[in-house]
């Protein structure tokens, strides 16, 4: 059974159809990419998946259950986590605190428990902190846990966003342009991390990316959006050679560029 199944998802803003009748199926442990020109509706589609927007039409099934109409926090609790195109960390919280907020849905302690510091709360907090340190280590930020999120270098902020998303134990991770604004070395390390997320943690990944080198080398499947519509879907090499995709998005130069 597919982990995520979107059927005919349509989102309209006023007169603008941002996402139009998009179908998308993602199998478990897959790395899928969503590409397309700016304004094609990729991020809007993400926002529909995470509950920030409610689509006008269509249905989204996650793990066999419809998530239309659920609040974002409920969807996170079900197992979808995301990062943002323009990094949106909690800047004045430390790296560790950011990850602890990420764990929010997995923690159970109550306000009264916190005031009284019940054994349960104490144990849970210790476990949460330990887990946060582990996640920090997983993305390679060991030793930066007590820095304020906004004081981290740009690339580290991206990593911290991934760690925060991982903290909610997602089954599906949505990455919105994980390599945006990175230099080639950082991009390569990010690709390596995405592979590890899938291979070591078994997380299914859907990512939006403009860097064709990233998209073509790590995706199992690529979906192309243009003006809110799905215009192509398939394995990276199929999509790369699709004339419609070349015309709408890649441009003729892409063939030369990705085949050195």
């Amino acid at each position: 059974m597919a982990l995520l199944e979107a059927r005919g998802v349509t989102k309209v803003f006023g007169g603008l159809v941002a996402v139009s009748q998009v179908d998308l199926t993602i199998e478990e442990r897959m790395i899928a990419s969503l590409i397309g020109p700016n304004g094609a509706g990729k991020t809007t589609f993400f926002n529909c998946l995470t509950g920030l927007y409610k689509p006008e039409e269509g249905d989204i099934l996650f793990d066999g259950r419809s998530i239309i109409g659920l609040r974002p926090d409920q969807i996170t609790a079900l197992g979808i986590a995301r990062t943002y195109q323009n990094i949106r960390l909690f800047g004045s919280m430390t790296a560790i605190e950011n990850i602890l907020v990420g764990q929010h849905v997995r923690l159970r302690s109550t306000p009264l428990g916190a005031i009284l510091q019940t054994p349960f709360t104490r144990r849970e907090e210790q476990r949460a902190e330990k887990r946060a340190r582990e996640l920090l280590a997983f993305v390679g930020l060991t030793g930066k846990g007590d820095m304020l999120a906004k004081n981290l270098p740009y690339g580290d902020q991206r990593l911290l966003e991934v760690a925060r998303a991982l903290a909610s134990d997602p089954k599906l991770l949505l990455l919105d342009e994980p390599a945006a604004g990175m230099n080639p070395r950082e991009t390569e390390a990010m690709m390596h991390l995405i592979h590890r997320l899938r291979n070591e943690l078994g997380i299914t990944i859907l990512l939006i990316e403009h860097d064709m080198k990233v998209v073509m080398s790590i995706s199992d499947r690529v979906t192309v959006l243009d003006y809110g519509k799905k215009i192509a879907e398939g394995r990276p090499e199929e999509v790369r050679n699709d004339p419609r995709v070349i015309e709408a998005y890649l441009g003729p130069g892409i063939l030369a560029e990705t085949h050195p």
Partner: protein, 582 residues
């Protein structure tokens, strides 16, 4: 380099002159009496120190050169001194030639001027000032500015010393509260005449400064053994205060700590969760009225009628203070949720306006629902708290109850701040949408902030009602909300010790400064504005806020610092310089 220092001095001097003029105009010298000159000179020396050291970082202090410092200081002192001397000369001349200044400057009485010159009022009226007296202010201010400049140098020297010296020095601020406490005790001993008529006021001020200094000292202490030891010591000191202070002093501090309780609650709503609530007085009123209903049902026409029809005697309290506590807390909680639900979707300014309305609604409700609340005539004869038959309604015991209440609330707030809920509050304040997408249930988190904040305010309200024994709708005006919000901001948003200092400064100082009576509000407005410009994060900012507002003091971490990703990256192939399209 010399000219800029002189310019700087002129600027500082002008500010000093403005402050002094204000203090003289509001009649402070008269209040201070014999101590006017030394206190004003000391205050100005402190001002010059702060103005001359400038800047917010330690580095600035090191950069000050002695020669330039004294050039700036002395030109500043001389400017301020000559200006104030000239101004006072004009006033004295006018007074001695029979012009009455009071219609315009109503504090410009001969005694006020006389206090400043240290002579009898007759000398001012008769114009018998010695030539030296005319220049007294100029000399005094020049000396004060010199002392200020010297203080900067002392600070520079102290900061430049190797660590062992400093570690000995750091005990000075840590132990200062003990010295202040002993001073308070000494002032209270029979036969001590320090300060003359103002002895009681000075003692109150000293007691407040002791509490404030104690809090600052605890923050400066090293965590662990040292802090625990000092905490115990200071706790014992504060616990002893109510027993040594007199009625008036206890009564002022009682109100201060009722406001601490309220401020701590508001701090949760505004400081932690970032929900600007301008109608916070509503919950204070709910707490006070709920206790009043339970304690003095006979004051409410409708309640007493109901009780009579049920055959319950309505001439005695229904519940004692302690039995009423859970009910008041519940009422506050429900009030918080009721306000919270309609404003869940509102943010920032809109939230502020709606909460403002809510506060007014509750007050108008109290005012107009006369059948229940007895309207403007208020609820009377509310019972004080009793413990084992002992009446705790006197100022001293109310102060003690305020201290205990504040301690319990501060403790709870501290634990909440460092909990799952506290993190969710801060995340919500930072970025509401992302917080929700990260898994924070906004409805629950917001309602909990309102409800917990309201519960604390209701507790404060109950203590307030028990203290006043009679409450009227006018006790719960918008100004209470504004006071509570101001003390949170002045103390430092989101900072628990800051609330205590804010309450001492905003609710305590006005009592000490009764002398400036009608100028009190103006003085506070000026202080608030200055404070917000100089130190927008409050007296004791929460660590978070300080970092937010003074970023430049942080070590610079930017894009030129390699990120972890970059170091982790496998060796880059040289034939791919671009790394793909962006």
């Amino acid at each position: 380099m010399l000219l800029p220092s002189v310019q700087r001095g002129l600027r500082i001097g002008a500010i000093a002159f403005a402050i002094l003029t204000y203090l003289v105009l509001v009649g402070l010298p008269l209040r201070l009496g014999d101590l006017a000159l030394p206190i004003l000179a000391g205050a100005m020396a402190l001002f010059f120190w702060l103005a001359l050291r400038g800047g917010k970082s330690k580095q600035d202090v090191f950069n000050r050169q002695p020669a330039l410092l004294f050039t700036a200081g002395l030109s500043g002192g001389l400017t301020a001194g000559l200006l104030i001397a000239a101004l006072l000369a004009v006033f004295v001349n006018l007074t001695s030639s029979g012009v009455r200044l009071q219609p315009i400057f109503d504090k410009m009485t001969p005694p006020n001027l006389a206090a400043l010159y240290g002579v009898a009022p007759g000398a001012i009226v008769g114009g018998e000032l010695s030539p030296l007296a005319w220049l007294q202010q100029a000399l005094l201010l020049t000396v004060a500015s010199g002392v200020g400049a010297a203080l900067v140098l002392v600070e520079r020297w102290a900061r430049g010393r190797p660590t062992p010296r400093i570690s000995a020095l750091r005990w000075i601020p840590l132990l200062l509260p003990i010295a202040l406490f002993l001073f308070v005790l000494w002032l209270g001993m029979p036969g001590v005449t320090f300060g003359g008529n103002n002895r009681g006021t000075i003692r109150l001020l000293a007691a407040m400064v002791t509490i404030g200094a104690g809090i600052l000292a605890l923050r400066a202490a090293h965590p662990g053994r040292e802090r625990q030891l000092l905490s115990l010591l200071y706790l014992a000191g504060v616990a002893y205060l109510p027993f040594t202070l007199d009625q008036f002093q206890n009564s002022v501090l009682g109100i201060v700590f009722i406001f601490v309780m309220m401020g701590l609650g508001l701090n949760i709503v505004v400081g932690f969760a970032g929900l600007l609530d301008l109608g916070y007085v509503a919950f204070f009123a709910i707490g006070a009225y709920m206790y009043a209903f339970l304690s003095a049902p006979f004051s409410s026409p409708w309640l007493s009628a109901q009780l009579q029809s049920l055959g319950i005697p309505a001439n005695a309290p229904l519940l004692s203070f302690w039995m009423a506590l859970p009910i008041t807390m519940l009422a506050g909680w429900i009030g918080g949720v009721l306000l919270g639900i309609p404003v869940l979707r509102l943010r920032g300014d809109y939230l502020a306006i709606v909460t403002l309305g809510f506060g007014e609604i509750i007050r108008l409700f109290m005012l107009n629902l006369a059948e229940l609340t007895n309207g403007p005539r208020g609820l009377l004869n509310i019972a004080p708290p009793y413990l084992f038959g002992y009446n705790l309604g006197n100022p001293r015991d109310i102060f003690i109850l305020g201290l205990i209440g504040s301690a319990v609330i501060a403790f709870s707030a501290y634990r909440l701040d460092n909990s799952r809920l506290g993190r969710a509050w801060i995340a919500m304040r930072e970025d509401q949408d992302v917080a929700q997408a990260t898994g924070v249930n906004l409805v629950r988190t917001k309602l909990l902030a309102f409800a917990i904040g309201a519960l604390f305010a209701a507790l404060a309200g109950q203590l307030y009602a028990a203290r006043q024994t009679n409450i009227f709708p006018e006790n719960f005006s918008l100004f209470v909300s504004i006071d509570a919000l101001s003390l949170v901001i002045v103390g430092g948003m989101g900072s628990i010790p800051g609330v205590v200092l804010g309450a001492l400064a905003l609710k305590g100082l006005p009592e000490v400064l009764r002398g400036v009576d009608e100028y009190r509000i103006v003085t506070f407005a000026a202080l608030l504005v200055t404070m917000m410009i100089v130190r927008p994060e409050g007296i004791i900012p929460s660590t978070r806020r300080r970092r937010e507002l003074h970023e430049e003091a942080e070590p610079v971490v930017g894009e030129d610092v390699p990120s972890v990703l970059e170091r982790l990256a496998p060796e880059l192939k040289s034939d791919n310089p671009d790394g793909g399209k962006k």
